[in-house]
Subunit: 249 residues, 8 copies
């Protein structure tokens, strides 16, 4: 339940347009609601400015639906990540107004257009074409949290002039999310060119000693550019979320 | 060379109070200055809003001094990290106005008091007493970059009520740096309580399967709280730097 | 063969109600019974208070059935773990009175209701919905060993107030089993709140540097709370077993 | 502050033998006491039945002394682990009634003989002579927590008859702590012989692929005996602590 | 080509019963025969006393058949390991006199019964039922190399009396092959009981920190019993081969 | 766009046989061409002497086709690696003049026969039959880059005389590519026999502690022969490419 | 106590030349003797044909002396490994007839010349000069166990003709111990040339990805030659011991 | 013994200016010379075009001197690497005409100025000041092998314009050696700019997840630029050697 909805509810009670028992029913699960296999944290929007996001991996479509069901009554936006095509189909049948982003494997439900929440632009950069799904997860997340987001794909360091052609775009961004697999060198180079925070996302793209993304991760943590912070391998969602937090007005 | 110094120089030339040859001499190393064992990047202040920071490990005191020497003529603040007590002594003799922070192993030289650069407060939290040196590195860095910084030490999760007593301090911060070794659980808990970005710093404190900080690092990257980004093990400097970038007005 | 069955047998011989050759046949495999692909350890119930438990992974349904067959004649409870749905179906046809717990992938056969064996309550806590299968394995095991067991699901550290609402339940338990994946922080927090032993179970839930549960495991072994001992990744069975051993009257 | 001291204090106030301001001063730091570099958790004895234990590694002798100073006023026993001989000497000068156990590198301070707290005997077993320091840490810890403790040294699996000679001692114990380096096989063998919980402690003894104790740790976590739970490498203290928790009357 | 066949050929030439051109054709590939995708090493029997063994993994059935074809003309025994059921079927059609051991995934072709080659008995021991396939690979290999082989299955350390019942069998063996997964403790215990060399084979049986057999491997390499040497994970073939080399008369 | 094509274009403009607008259209994407999911680097042939090579893994057939489409207009050779049989079929339909090498999983398109580019012979050696696919990737790559290439398969160190028989072939090569899995010993032995650079390629062939090729990789990096440099696991393409660079006339 | 000494003692008792109480005193510690910090396993000579060997690492000189003292009364040879120069000096003062091998860091005490125990020659080969200490440990051990031992130093694969010059020496050996660091390729090459068992010993010689000997170890375990078994990194003692077991008449 | 010296010797014999016995003495150790702790490979110059290089680590000054002694009689250049200052001093006393390069820790002895051996320039680039020692090892090695060598220090990717200023120097080189620690990104960027082979050298400079150079190594092996081959961590010598081989006329 976010601050706006909470205020509205209390104002209705004050105005007598909503009965006390009704408001009470609405608020009784504010701390969290126990639905057996999950304790839905309705308080999170108040505490963190954005509702709980459902991590779809390892949950059945039924469990995801159950959690969505009980969030929809209290929130105006619900996100689910790591939702594969099969689960998505079943969820879209149940929540037809939701939108599924296949490449990012995300499901977004909104009760209304989101108000702008960010101060500047968030720029999502991907080193290669194969890094697109992770970049899209960051893109959709940041956008769903009310930000203006732009993207730049396939500007890896093997042909670094491709990056330099977009120098203005880089300098205009308020926060940058840089996604790369293999040797993970792109965040260092980008961060050396801007005066803004860079959130680096290693991907599992590569083979041999890419070690499922560990090499890119470790390279990014060792960046010789100081304005770089890192999230988990393939964690586009986390990068988009942190970028939105930084950009919050 | 930062923007202020550059503008002043050009205005002096325009006003005729500085000769063209003199300005030219001043500017000829703007891209970078080659001193044999280093290419000092004078352009960095203009590009990134803060001059190059000297990484002291693996450099001799003479090399550090040489780089400082050639930065001082162009910058109003110079930082050196990972400077041990021995090198510090020799550098203080040469730069008596510099200040050495023994616990953080940092040397700070300033030509003038720093103007405030941040929008809010940066809060540095350390899980245990043994994490102090890393926390101090973050503290000194953020402070030297013109921020208001506060700290909270020894509030690890084994006695989590110690943390909850400072809830207001947590909620008041604009950015939080959370430093922890061993199981690295503190950033997750802190991030779950606030609506601001958390920069997590794993430390090498612990033994056995703390693996020199790898366990804390991996735990932080796997945080179930989404507003967490991470820097390298024991990298207090990087955390302070990123926090300052985020907090920049 | 457990102590009760052994005593009964000897009493029957003493009373002349069972012939010596018959008793001898019954006892000849007491040390262990060789069935070619296995040496069934009938002595284990006497030695350890609970019969051998069959580890189903890497055994064919026929091998599991063969071992069960020869245990059933000597024990009043038989457990098999890591039994997938296919093998379960074939085993249930052969042992219709057995019960299959699909989520925990366990098969339990009992000749009679189990007498209570524990002194207090064992509480099984899971950090997230995705940790349920491992938590259920601990739950079923401890229950099958004669204990009163309770559970608490989805109380991870990203919304730690969900845990604090159940403080009394935590304090009432005699032993706690805490199951968590990702950063594995929950056992540290729980252990900091109680004066009882906590058995921590890391799960393979997570991605990237969760490293198949290694990160959660290492975090738990590095717990800054001292009343924590740990079992292997996804080893719900072992946690339930140790908890039952601790709780034994 | 433990329950006994708290009750006594409140009774004195009730009886009028202690003034309210005095009691208040005594209680004001109950939650925790901030001494700059540490937040001493005086509430821990109440919450967990035993006061905070000071981890000496990475703390100066002055810091340890400062924490001891402020604990001694509220507790009747104070433990510090990982205290090397140098720090110990300086601390003994300041706290002459404390006792230093050089092999275990522990410092124990007591205001009075400890009342017995355990139900049965805790048996500490070490595989080899080189594992003695870790075994002693477990021994001293369990003893300081009010338990009857016995030990058995150098009974590794290369000559397993040495272990079998002490079968009665093994069967008599209520909890067993088994310490081993190298291949870490001893806990499996011991656990296969008893019906009680075994706390296994891997040590860093060995070379090559002993990997600083990782091999022994992993072997213990993979034990084919189910009544084994494990603590961190060389963590004799943790093993003694958990054993005491299990044995608590 | 082994020594016997070579001698026979040369004697035939000497006796005039085989023409020189014919013998020459037979010998021209003695060093090795190039069949494009392989250089078949016919000289190996002479050099090492046993012909090259075909490693089936990563080779097509056609490639295996091609190599067998060209070995059969020169050897009296041909072994292929890691041959799955599909390839086996196709190979048996082509070489109907060969024998396929499904559990061991081995194919054995013989032109005649093998003469006894070993001095004593080789004993193959497996810790658990799940280790059978690897144990069988060792068994078949040692047998095909002309040795008397015995086996003992499911005598792991969780019920160590099962092993002690076969003490005489252990003491009678000339070489012992001990196969174990999980914590890999069995070779240490067995080696402590005998005065003969023990070849330890780690298996990939286990989960979590069994790490695909690495834990068992490392434990075996760290054995506190000195008469243990180790082969690669799941390398039953290598163990059987080395055992045969040791046992060679 | 390579140097020849560029010169021809400019000469046509100079000669008036090509209009300026037409040439301009041709050159406008010289730096790179943005096709949404990729920034095709047409400048690479000029800069590096060979056009960008398409890494097929993680790209859809449509994406590969799109990139090929826009390269074909500017280059006379296009390579795609890691193209599986399914994608290849779809691409061959679209580019019928391309050639698919199934074993090497490579697609090669040429507008004309390639002019010879190398000074000497490149020799590709594979330790075993199972290493063929990687060796073929190196072979096809070097050949497509205009070199004379030879190969030698199955000459591993277990029968080292097989290698010595080809000593002249080894000594005649200008550059050697040596491919090996398992213990990766072959490059050291080969490099000890020649006075030319050896490019070593570890493969993922093996099991157990071959660790997916890491062991072979590390062995090659530790070669006691000094004329060895190494590429990533299974990176036949990279080895062929570097060899071609070294051999360039 | 070895078989000869035991027989002699019993014969003296039978002959009346030794009193029963005296013999009893001698035999009472046969199973093992408890000296507090060690349980000396006097039974080992009978069981394994060679007395317990003292592992000196992590034991004080006093502890080593104490164990030697109580072995000398019952054995005719005592070995201690990993004894540094300091401890050696103190032990030689106490046991002047012992011999210290500085390079191998071993102490050998004998009551009489050792009878020959082996059937053939054991050959110890070292790849490089830096591997000498480990090779010497194998050499001294095998020799002290009654074997004829020869050695061959610095014949690594970078100049493989150095090895081939000694082909006869290789073929004459009954067992071969091959010691190598770095890429650990030598055992594969040697094993490919002989028909005898090869015990491979990886050493920690090397840097970078030699990983303290792990690379050599893994390479040896992946040997494409089948007659190779491996011991722990730097474990010259174990290799010598296993070789002696294999060579035992 | 190199080709020139060998030819001269044979010509002297032919001309009668050198006696046959004298020449024979000179040549008798051509294959290799056994000096107990080493088999000096005099044949290497003939075979590989450059004599054996002495690896100083783990050898005593006496052993290095012994090997030098016996090489000097047959070669006109002798190199020793990893020679610390202490050993160097003792060696310089014995070989006063040798030259010690302290930063590179190399000793070079020459009987005469070296003839030029390379076709073009070798360029050694280092990312940071701390990488200098490794870069110098490459520099000295390539120079001692008769090449023209240039260097460029401190041009890491955090300020990538420093590199671009030297574009012509990069394009002029025939082979490039690129040395970098931390995230190891520089070789990818450099290789993307040139059409020549790049030998990448990871260094152990960095902390935390630089993992002693593993991260830089893995990043380089995963380079998205194809003209990169890699040597072991800190192996400046190997890089210089391979570069010289590539550049050989």
């Amino acid at each position: 339940m976010n601050q706006d909805l909470l205020l509205k509810l209390l104002q209705e009670v004050a105005a007598g347009t909503r009965s006390v028992p009704d408001a009470s029913r609405q608020l009784e699960h504010l701390a969290c609601q126990d639905i057996g296999y999950a304790q839905v944290d309705h308080h999170r929007s108040l505490r963190k400015g954005f509702p709980e996001v459902i991590y779809g991996e390892g949950k059945t479509a039924e469990q995801i639906a159950g959690i969505m069901e009980c969030m929809i009554s209290q929130e105006n936006v619900v996100l689910a990540t790591r939702v594969d095509a099969g689960k998505a189909q079943s969820l879209l049948t149940r929540f037809p107004s939701a939108q599924y982003h296949a490449e990012a494997r995300m499901l977004v439900w909104r009760s209304a257009p989101l108000p702008a929440a960010g101060r500047g632009t968030i720029l999502v950069i991907a080193a290669g074409t194969s890094d697109l799904p992770v970049a899209m997860e960051a893109y959709i997340t940041a956008q769903a949290m009310g930000n203006r987001v732009e993207q730049l794909i396939d500007v890896g360091v093997a042909g670094i002039h491709r990056l330099f052609r977009h120098r203005e775009m880089l300098e205009a961004a308020r926060v940058l999310v840089v996604v790369a697999g293999m040797e993970g060198a792109l965040p260092s180079v980008v961060a050396g060119m801007v005066s803004r925070p860079v959130i680096a996302v290693p991907t599992s793209i590569g083979y041999g000693v890419s070690l499922g993304g560990l090499t890119a991760l470790f390279a990014m943590l060792n960046s010789c550019s100081s304005n770089v912070a890192v999230v988990n391998i393939d964690n586009g969602f986390g990068a988009g979320y942190v970028a939105a937090m930084i950009n919050r007005a």
